[in-house]
Subunit: 337 residues, 2 copies
Amino acid sequence: MTQNRRFILRRRPQGDPVPQDFELVEEDIPAPPPGGFTMRNVYCSLDPAQRGWMSDEESYMPPIPLGDAVRATCVGTVHASDNPDFPAGSWVMNLNAIEDYTAVEPGHFTAPVDVSLADSPSRFLSAMGAVGLTAYFGLTEVARPQKGETLCVSAAAGAVGSVVGQIGRIMGCRTIGIAGGPEKCRRLVEDYGYDVAIDYRGKDHDALRAELASAAPDGIDIVFENVGGQILEAEIFELAKKARIVLCGLISEYNAVEPHGLKNLWQVIVKEATLHGFLVMDYAPRFAEGGAQIAEWMQQGRMRIDEDVQHGIENSYDAFMRLFSGRNTGKLILKIG
Amino acid sequence: MTQNRRFILRRRPQGDPVPQDFELVEEDIPAPPPGGFTMRNVYCSLDPAQRGWMSDEESYMPPIPLGDAVRATCVGTVHASDNPDFPAGSWVMNLNAIEDYTAVEPGHFTAPVDVSLADSPSRFLSAMGAVGLTAYFGLTEVARPQKGETLCVSAAAGAVGSVVGQIGRIMGCRTIGIAGGPEKCRRLVEDYGYDVAIDYRGKDHDALRAELASAAPDGIDIVFENVGGQILEAEIFELAKKARIVLCGLISEYNAVEPHGLKNLWQVIVKEATLHGFLVMDYAPRFAEGGAQIAEWMQQGRMRIDEDVQHGIENSYDAFMRLFSGRNTGKLILKIG
């Protein structure tokens, strides 16, 4: 390959992204910057957060510039190097973009990857990457579950949610998972060990609340929220006193031109509940500790972390949209090399 | 007086309460229950929380039954007693109702009142009552301000808000108060010592955000929220990292048939902020400590707590509606005896 294919953001999506918001272009392979390297991206992480970076609203990162490739955490190999710490051929991880090659100036997000530790380098985007660490620190450090508490997880069959439920079970919680469709609900119980699976599809507000009330007769102590909107509202009505809500994601809102919002905030007062906005980056100094704990649980057979690996940079749009259609099963990853 | 006038809830209000939702009736004065007493209510507290009790939705207290008098915290005298701890003529406080006389079985909310400690018994409904204690514990225990932090208070000229701002200033915060109209904003600065007053009236979302951004160039560290709706949304856009929001009240939402809701919950994630639902009752074991601190600050001349005393049980509806029209200045109290 002598060209660099890049998945470019052409337009800021309004609501659901459409194919015309993007363009696949070919450019020359960039040279290593002084003191840096050119990276061949092999696995690209596809995450809901990318939808936020495509908009021009304030966030914890600047918007993706129009005309630039879509930002993504990538695992790949060093193609050409001007830095002896990152020799050609070695595996590395960085916040790059969906493109074959990236000119990398090593920084905060740049880390060598020891691929001998895992059965696939993609694991560094799932179990030993942001997914596993988000579940681990969000639950153990923010919500701080006590044995016997009831934990409710939305998007419970998703990349983060499936791990949260398993960690909650290991910590002695009763676990309720919310997902869409009977197949995902089957997996919640059979694959991820949830005590109760609730299928939100086809249920109005009252029906969803009734299922939650039945699953958590003493109320929900911890909500690990990945969805927002009407699911979060129903959960909030069924909280126990002094419940903790970890706000990890709001995927139902990201493509909404007019967000649904949270209409029962007064219930947060009534229940004396707490909502915690959570970004895993805050725990970066403790990532090694979290990764080691997850690796230990996986080795003990107490945890499974699924990946949904899609193939080909030419499929970037379709692969990304799997996040919002509920089709992905496990951590969504695009293999482009 | 030989009759007991009672302000009865006839209908659950839809949106703004209207006069037809209530009725003033006359009944016989009740006899003391065994082991209890009959109380002559003199001062009745008028609070936004009463609007919630008028609806049939879940809350931290059961709804006011239709046909019953509107629940209210009252200070008054013992009219007739079957309990030596509460002799006839003594002053007492209890959760009663807007009515001349209440048959009281002493319980969790029943407390003798030493009127010699204050210039008016009404102080036990303001400075030394729920208002002062809500401000004190909500700010000092939930938000835990650090010297030099920026505190933003909505309904800042209101009963609770005016006290929050003054405690914040005593604790070394830079204080921003939001209120409606130039007269209230003048009082924020001149009477309550706010560093900045923002008049929300006539301002759209962008204009309100611009004023907040200018008043808090490094972001808002603490929000003490009494209003909700669009004011809370604007504040959330201007938060500093790791901001704390004390959810004390949402008065803009209580009369809304369809609440505005919180549409920028994703900003809570981005800012890693925390929202704390807060009920002062949780701190009941420490009320004496809080009351003593407030009394000390008042004696030192470092704090003023205003009361808006309305007169006559026949004015109950008009007096209550002052809460929602922005007309009340200080803690709203109805004197009926």
